[in-house]
């Protein structure tokens, strides 16, 4: 046996290899080879020593210290679970709130659209009633059904007008208490028998009440069959003293059948007062500059002061202009009047009555279809886009968490 082989056996000196140690070859080699014998003894000594190494006692307080650490880390785990659950709860609340928000939106959207449809229905109704009334050509003997319909429309309009009057009265009171600066605007659409007559009446009323017509336009449909214009329409903006706002609105309503009507009141007191105080400050500065200019001794001082003075005067002018503009809109309310002439000439024999009705209904149903479609698109945008964003964020968070866990 060679030394290399013997050393290999020595290094694999393990219990299972006892055969190798017992082998004659190995024993012979060990006896004859001093270095291998030495190696053999050494490995025996090492393993014996290692086997006999005494156990180190645990350091002092090892157990209690470890127990404390374990309890603490256990608490930490519980806390992390708490954090987890509160995160889940927060998500739930968020989703719930989003749901409530979307529900709100839904109600707003649906009530808005129902209001719209009510409006359009009333418009349809009044248009129909007008059409029918004109068709009857002022004959009181027309069928009872027609009358009851137009009566109903009349009642409806009356109720609406009453509510609007109440509203405008409230606005008036608000404007009167403390000299608040309120811009009132009115919008009214009326259907009339004769456009020219109505616009003439409105103009004279405005002039009598020291108001003025700010803008006026009119146009008419051209009938290629008769080569003439018919059914005049027009818009007027009437400016009237704000104290006479409600009266004027009421007067316009008497001119024809009201198809739509609204008022707005914008309180600009804050910005008005701001502008006023800025103007005062600038006035004071102007006064001081004037005094300084009188006392100024040399040329450069004069130039500097004059330069500043120019700026201040320009500021004063712009503030003044703003105040004037405010005063103008506050003192003189604007009422936009939309006047539409009933198309008498187009209403011919009762033969075409059904066709007209059908055409009108068809048009309105097409209109309703498109507005319904628009509503659906808007709902999708309102509901699903935020929901999709929230879901996407949640998905990303969950994905990242899962990845981290892995």
């Amino acid at each position: 046996m060679k030394c290399e082989e013997a050393l290999k056996i020595i290094d694999t000196y393990v219990n299972e290899c006892i055969d190798a140690y017992d082998s004659e070859d190995f024993q012979k080699h060990i006896e004859s080879c001093e270095s291998c014998r030495r190696a053999y003894n050494e490995i025996k000594r090492i393993t014996n020593e290692l086997n006999n190494t005494e156990y180190m006692p645990l350091p002092e307080n090892f157990h209690s210290e470890l127990t404390d650490k374990l309890i603490k880390s256990g608490k930490k785990r519980k806390r992390s679970a708490l954090v987890k659950y509160s995160a889940v709860a927060a998500c739930a609340v968020l989703i719930f709130m989003t749901g409530a928000y979307m529900k709100n939106l839904y109600y707003m959207a649906s009530s808005g659209s129902s209001a719209q449809s009510a409006d359009s229905a009333s418009a349809t109704e009044s248009a129909n009633s007008n059409m029918l009334r004109s068709a009857s050509g002022g004959m009181p003997q027309a069928s009872a059904g027609v009358y009851s319909e137009s009566d109903a429309a009349g009642i409806y309009n009356g109720a609406e007008t009453g509510a609007a009057e109440m509203q405008s009265n409230v606005l008036d009171e608000a404007a009167k208490s403390v000299s608040r600066k309120i811009i009132k605007r009115g919008y009214i659409s009326i259907d009339v028998e004769n456009f020219d007559e109505t616009s003439g009446l409105l103009k004279s009323y405005t002039e009598q009440n020291s108001g003025y017509i700010e803008q006026s336009d009119q146009y008419a449909d051209y009938d290629s069959q008769t080569n003439s214009y018919r059914s005049k329409r027009g818009n007027m903006i009437v400016r009237i003293e704000s104290s006479k706002f409600s009266d004027t609105m009421a007067y316009i309503e008497t001119l024809g059948t009201v198809t739509s009507r609204s008022e707005t009141a914008e309180d600009i007191t804050g910005s008005y007062v701001d502008t006023q105080s800025r103007l005062e400050v600038k006035e004071q500065e102007k006064q001081r500059l004037m005094e300084l200019l009188e006392d100024a001794g040399n040329m450069s001082d004069i130039i500097t002061i004059e330069g500043r003075l120019t700026e201040v005067i320009s500021d004063i002018e712009s503030y003044q202009a703003q105040i004037n503009a405010y005063d103008d809109v506050v003192d003189y309310s604007a009422i936009s009047v939309s006047i539409r002439e009933n198309d008498d000439s187009s209403i011919v024999p009762s033969k075409t009555k059904f066709a007209d009705k059908a055409a009108y209904n068809f048009k309105s149903s097409v209109k309703m279809f498109f507005s319904g479609f628009e509503g659906i698109v808007l709902m999708v945008i309102k509901f699903w886009v935020p929901a999709a964003v929230i879901l996407a964020i949640a998905a990303v968070v969950v994905f990242v968490k899962i990845k981290r866990k892995k």
């Binding site: 050494e42 490995i43 880390s73």
Partner: protein
């Protein structure tokens, strides 16, 4: 290996009860501390590293599937934590016994270091040599020769095949013998004398 008492503790510990886990491991503390001490070669480090290993075990206790003995699972974590620690320490260039040997091999060390090494004798010397071994041999030597574990158990703890455990043990012992021969000429003469 898991008694009914233990299974109750295991349930509690799984739910994050630190005290229950502490009771579960009480009988293994000394063993784990010693294994870690022999791998790290430093009592102070062993205290921290073994405690870290226990906490690590507690935190990942949910992943313990009871397919292996609790002790095997626990020792595996302890051995891995200790080896990780030693490797990290090596990266941070803390001088250990091994550094002296490398210096000796390269014949760069001064006589002072050699004397220091030579002056150590007996068990202390052997343990120093064990400390100087590479982690892969050291772990096996510690578990087999110092803790007297079966190959199967060592294989379970280290996740190495039995054959690898045996060959590493053999090579580790060879290295130990060579190291001690080189640094302990006294031993050499003793051996000669005996022979």
């Amino acid at each position: 290996m898991i008694s009914s008492v233990n299974s109750g503790l295991i349930k509690k510990a799984r739910r994050g009860d630190g005290r229950a886990f502490s009771m579960l491991i009480e009988n293994h503390e000394r063993f784990v501390f010693n294994v870690v001490y022999r791998i790290t070669g430093n009592a102070e480090d062993a205290r921290d590293v073994s405690q870290e290993a226990f906490i690590k075990a507690f935190k990942s206790f949910e992943s313990y599937d009871e397919s292996s003995a609790f002790s095997t699972w626990l020792y595996r974590i302890a051995v891995n934590t200790a080896i990780d620690y030693v490797r990290k320490r090596k990266k941070e260039n803390i001088i250990s016994f091994e550094d002296y040997i490398v210096d000796e091999k390269n014949e760069k060390s001064d006589s002072g270091v050699e004397e220091k090494v030579i002056s150590k004798e007996g068990v202390k010397n052997i343990i120093e040599a064990v400390n100087a071994l590479d982690d892969e041999f050291k772990t096996i030597i510690v578990l087999r020769d110092m803790e007297g574990m079966e190959y199967k158990e060592i294989s379970d703890i280290t996740g190495l095949p039995m054959g690898t455990v045996k060959s590493r043990l053999s090579r580790g012992r060879g290295k130990l013998r060579q190291m001690l021969e080189k640094f302990n000429p006294k031993n050499e003469t003793e051996g000669r004398g005996r022979a």
